[in-house]
């Protein structure tokens, strides 16, 4: 048994707003302001949620409940998949010494399910930056094969100092701004997000026609600069969707402004789409790289842009990089997109591509 899987509902809270529609409007208006966070003696821009609650746990509850409401009424037994790379580490930080870490890595997922008032099967997935698509791949597989009829997948990444310090230590952060595919790019900017989708076998306006994950073992912290493994995952995804590259009208790229990863993705795009790829859009320079939540947050934001026929410009892009060639994000426009591809490239070699299509 293999049946289509649809995106039946979505919810989003990120630096650009408190609903998919608000985020799409903010992106269309070109908003990309951020806050500043300190690591040791250094300061970095950071895309924080618009929530002032000082308690990490209460703030998390507010964010999760806010996004859950956007999904509409949920059956209490609906299966829940949680995608995150840091789970409740910010809570441990706030509690302080002795930094008692739960015996179960993802104990926070149970708290999430309780806040969402869900008591069905619960699973957690942590695959660094591709966690969201990995969770969607698992849920979609079970729905497509008839094991489940629907599921909620939530991506959550909330402020914590450990992640900021870690990315800073790896010299991955820009001290100024995220500039995807730009010649002046010098690193990514982190952010927070809570985002969710409800997947279902019942027809809805958007269908997932391809979803593939892969592995690039070139290095533990960055992809093969030639982009071969990234291209392979995109090719696998196109094969699954049974379409050719020319059928893709828009690509939501991973590009976060990282010198090496942007180059690798651009080289992969050349391999699959030739000299003239379809319209390209990066969202990370406006909402931040939200790590384990990024897949779902960017999917939900993109769907809202597509529903409004408002494709925003990519914040931070000004100057083409000759090393990247004829790869540059699209100007803001009102094209009616029927089919889009989304890429994720993660820490630890995780790769993922998804194709969504209007039903």
């Amino acid at each position: 048994m293999r049946r289509p899987v649809y995106i039946a509902a979505s919810g989003l809270l990120c630096a650009r707003g408190g609903s998919p529609e608000a985020v799409a409007a903010s992106l269309w208006n070109g908003e990309h302001g951020s806050e500043v966070r300190r690591v040791g003696d250094r300061e970095f821009p950071y895309f924080a949620l618009p929530l002032s609650e000082p308690s990490w746990l209460k703030r998390a509850e507010q964010a999760v409940c806010h996004v859950t409401t956007q999904l509409g009424a949920l059956p209490v037994e609906i299966p829940l998949f949680v995608a995150s790379s840091s789970f409740q580490i910010g809570h441990y930080e706030q509690r302080g010494e002795p930094y008692a870490v739960s015996v179960a890595n993802a104990a926070f997922s149970r708290q999430l399910a309780a806040w969402m008032q869900l008591s069905g099967p619960l699973a957690s997935i942590s695959n660094a930056c591709i966690s969201g698509f990995s969770a969607m791949e698992a849920a979609r597989s079970l729905i497509a094969s008839g094991r489940l009829d629907e599921a909620v997948i939530i991506g959550i990444e909330l402020s914590n100092q450990v992640t900021l310090a870690g990315f800073s230590a790896m010299e991955l952060l820009s001290p100024t701004a995220s500039r995807p595919f730009d010649a002046r790019r010098d690193g990514l900017v982190l952010g927070e997000a809570v985002a969710a989708v409800r997947l279902s076998a019942t027809p809805s306006p958007w269908r997932i026609t391809g979803l593939r994950t892969g592995l690039d073992a070139y290095s533990t912290t960055g992809p093969d600069p030639e982009g071969g493994p990234i291209a392979q995952v995109m090719a696998d995804c196109l094969n699954e969707a049974q379409i050719s590259a020319s059928n893709i009208e828009l690509i939501k790229v991973q590009a976060a402004g990282s010198p090496g990863t942007d180059l690798a993705e651009a080289n992969a795009l050349h391999q699959i789409f030739g000299k003239k790829p379809p319209a390209l859009l990066s969202l990370k320079s406006a909402i931040g790289h939200t790590l384990g939540a990024s897949g779902i947050a960017e999917l939900v934001a993109l769907l809202a842009c597509l529903e409004a026929d408002q494709i925003p410009a990519t914040a931070g892009f000004q100057q083409t990089d000759p090393k990247i060639g004829a790869i540059s994000p699209v100007d803001r426009n009102n094209c009616h997109i029927k089919r889009a591809l989304l890429n994720l490239i993660g820490f630890g070699g995780g790769l993922a591509s998804m194709i969504i299509e209007r039903s």
Binding site: P79, A104, A106, S124, R147, L148, T221
Partner: protein, 224 residues
């Protein structure tokens, strides 16, 4: 339907893990977190040399994951200078196990990590359902499913290797069923060990793995 080799369970006193790595690889695995070392040792034990080039997916789970490394990093960042050491940050990233394994298992093409939300149960029903789907779709030649655990005292790994075609030494057939077998094993971290105990005491028959009702069908293991 899938076929399984004999389930593998490994148990090392924490101090023995580096020696186990050297024995398996012929050299130490430098700059790898303990749980990643356990993953490499287990993956090599679970996949015969002649099958290491075959397309493979890894679905692995852990209750604590890199727990002590997380505590170390929290102290370093929050009670120290505010900065992190790069290796200490990498040590709390379970995703990094996959590229480290691929160095010894070239066919590894995809990996997903499922952290547990409680100590009593595991996600074997989920990962085995996913493994069956991946094999049915012909995406991989074999799927490795594992539960890895580290405590201050010991390191433990439980592994199942599933493939769509029976191997010479396949001992179990796995399929979905709507029928309830007389014997049901709970979805606990050491399920592969319990499966081995079952194999040791029964010559024939079937066994179910306890699965969420929402999955609609049960996982049925049959001795070949």
């Amino acid at each position: 339907m899938a076929y399984l080799n004999l389930p593998i369970s490994q148990h090392f006193a924490t101090g023995e893990l580096p020696a186990a790595v050297r024995a398996a690889l012929g050299k130490p695995l430098r700059r790898a977190a303990a749980i990643n070392q356990l993953a490499v040792v287990g993956a090599l034990a679970a996949v015969p040399e002649c099958r290491r080039q075959l397309s493979t997916a890894l679905l692995w789970q852990s209750t604590g994951g890199p727990r002590s490394e997380t505590q170390t990093l929290l102290r370093e960042v929050c009670a120290g200078s505010g900065e992190a050491m790069p290796y200490d940050f990498l040590a709390i990233q379970p995703a990094i196990a996959a590229p480290q394994i691929q160095g010894f298992l070239p066919g590894l093409q995809s990996a997903s990590y499922f952290p547990m939300d409680n100590e009593a149960t595991a996600q074997w029903a989920l990962v085995l359902n996913l493994a069956l789907n991946l094999l049915d779709e012909g995406r991989y030649a074999q799927i490795l499913c594992a539960h890895l655990e580290l405590t201050p005292e010991f390191a433990e790994g439980h592994w199942l290797n599933l493939s769509q075609t029976p191997l010479e030494n396949s001992v179990i057939r796995l399929q979905l069923t709507k029928h309830q077998a007389s014997e049901v094993l709970p979805n606990t971290p050491d399920f592969p060990r319990q499966l081995n105990y079952w194999l040791a005491r029964t010559a024939t028959g079937t066994l179910n793995l306890q699965s969420p009702l929402a999955y609609q069908q049960a996982l049925e293991f049959t001795r070949r």
